[in-house]
């Protein structure tokens, strides 16, 4: 894998930006070039949020992912907005607990993950984003398992260190899903 452009999209408050950050840090631990770019604006909890993560062996050109190789999507408006932007042959990973709609396109691979339900049933409410990240890791192998864990450790500030284990568990559930 040389280049991978991922777009994470969903509601504000789902941890969309954080998922991207963990991926970005993991890629950094892997020794890759990378960029992380959030949508920004008059955003609010419950509004839409998205972030672009680019990983490459070469310097990153445009950090804005217009045509993602992988779309990780956690709400319906984002699926409707970005579905047609995914490159042919790309992957769409959908939180099917929240998005009750099938992807119309036939030229992409679609992965339905019951992420929010899986998280909730395992006492990890709010960690569906990490379940999705685990599945993204499984589908793309964008880094080694060790570096994914290091990326997670780097992304969690020291004062929130108690959240490390639950996030780890959620990622593992995503990999198993």
């Amino acid at each position: 894998m040389s280049d991978l452009n991922v777009l994470f999209a969903g509601f504000g408050g789902q941890g969309i930006l954080f998922s991207g950050k963990v991926m970005a840090y993991a890629a950094m631990m892997e020794g890759k070039e990378l960029s992380w770019l959030p949508s920004y604006g008059p955003e609010m909890r419950g509004g839409t949020a998205s972030c672009s993560v680019c990983i490459s062996d070469k310097a990153i050109g445009s950090p804005l992912v217009v045509n993602p190789d992988v779309l990780v999507v956690m709400n319906l408006p984002s699926l409707e907005k970005f579905e047609n932007d995914v490159v042919p042959g790309g992957i769409i990973i959908i939180d099917s607990s929240i998005v009750h709609k099938e992807v119309a396109r036939t030229d992409v691979r679609v992965v339905y993950v019951d992420a929010s339900r899986i998280a909730e049933e395992n006492g990890l409410k709010g960690a569906a984003n990490m379940v999705m990240l685990g599945r993204l890791f499984k589908e793309t192998g964008f880094c080694s398992a060790e570096n994914l864990d290091l990326g997670l450790q780097k992304s969690i500030p020291a004062r929130k260190a108690n959240l490390l284990e639950s996030n780890r568990k959620a990622i593992a559930l995503g990999i198993e899903s």
Binding site: Y25, M28, W36, Y40, P42, A59, I60, S62, K154
Partner: protein, 354 residues
């Protein structure tokens, strides 16, 4: 060497300034720049520095003038409308030969405009910041690491030439995160500024920092001396980076965020066999004329790509001076051009040159 970390462009600006010995920050919040001030407000009190949120941009820049005149390393940061408010103060700073760093994380304009990334302040930064004959050194980073490296360079050159310097970023570079290695911190060096009004306990003649000169001859002499300094800077401090330019038929000229979009477009065009390259101005003033001039002979066309209606393109045309066509492509108002849009322009121009 410091550890590689992921940082937002805006936070990296603040940390790099602190590492370069800056202990005085005056500013006023504005999107998409506010993380600079927020970061400074957390860090400065812990290291014996000053963070002050002024009542406005006008007040901020005058505080910068005061601190700079006292000989300390000082900065402010804002976004486009904020620079307009600071214009008068920047002219006073230039007219007083006071070094300082001004960061502009550009957003769409004119007016309050929008909060998405833009490059429409090129004219303002390089030509018409405010009244009077003067220039600032203007640096345009294209990555978070380069932003960090430029902050130190901007402070050092500002001190060397006793003039205001600007780092011209934009909302995309400010908001994005990339890996960065911060430089080793330096202690502030304020003692070498023998012109500063820093108190002397009666041991020497007092210094004066001032921009008011009623006698026209005296003012002309001063301005002319300043322009000799500018000529020296033009000779010695033009910086540009070339990307696949040596064999290029088409040369894109782009800086900052639009250079990154262009780089993606160039890679795609090269795969189609189109000989296209780029000159990326790193200093916008002085404009890297020499880097462009070097390629005027073999390049069949130039294309300026900007997030504006076409500003830097005028400087490219001044250098090329009719010897090759200079075209323009831009998006404005906070819209970021896509690599595909730039690729279309490359393909179109390539059709014309064959």
């Amino acid at each position: 060497m410091n550890e590689k970390v992921l940082m937002k462009g805006n936070e990296a600006i603040a940390e790099a300034a602190i590492a370069a010995g800056c202990r005085h920050f005056f500013g006023y919040p504005i999107t998409p720049q506010t993380e600079v001030a927020a970061y400074m407000s957390k860090r400065m009190p812990k290291i014996g520095g000053v963070y002050l949120q002024a009542e406005s941009e006008v007040a901020s820049i005058n505080m910068v003038l005061g601190a700079g005149a006292a000989g300390v390393r000082v900065m402010t940061s804002t976004s486009s409308p904020g620079i307009s408010l600071m214009a008068e103060g920047i002219s006073y700073i230039a007219g007083s030969d006071v070094p300082c760093l001004i960061v502009n994380v550009q957003r769409g304009g004119p007016g309050l405009g929008g909060i998405q990334p833009s490059q429409a302040d090129y004219f303002q930064a390089t030509k018409s910041t405010a009244h009077g004959d003067f220039h600032m050194l203007v640096f345009a980073p294209s990555t978070v690491q380069e932003t960090v490296d430029m902050i130190a360079m901007a402070f050092d050159l500002g001190d060397k030439y006793r003039m205001p310097t600007m780092v011209l970023s934009d909302g995309m570079l400010g908001q994005m995160m990339e890996p960065v290695v911060l430089p080793e911190p330096r202690e502030p060096d304020n003692d070498s500024k023998d012109w500063a009004i820093s108190g002397h306990k009666g041991k020497r003649e007092h210094n004066v920092v001032n921009s008011l000169y009623i006698n026209p001859q005296e003012l002309e002499t001063l301005v002319k001396a300043r322009f000799e300094k500018y000529a020296e800077i033009k000779e010695n401090h033009q910086i540009a980076e070339e990307y696949l330019a040596d064999d290029a038929d088409i040369i894109i000229v782009a800086y900052g965020s639009s250079s990154r979009v262009s780089r993606s477009a160039i890679d795609a065009a090269r795969k189609q066999g189109i000989k296209v390259g780029m000159i990326r101005p790193i200093t916008l003033w002085p404009f890297p004329e020499k880097a462009i001039e070097k390629h005027v002979g073999h390049a069949k066309a130039f294309l300026s790509v900007e997030m504006s209606m076409g500003q830097m393109v005028e400087d490219v045309r001044l250098v090329v001076n009719g010897r090759a066509p200079v075209e323009f492509y831009g998006r404005t108002g906070g819209v970021i051009p896509t690599p595909n849009e730039v690729l279309e322009q490359i393909v179109r121009i390539n059709g014309g040159v064959q």
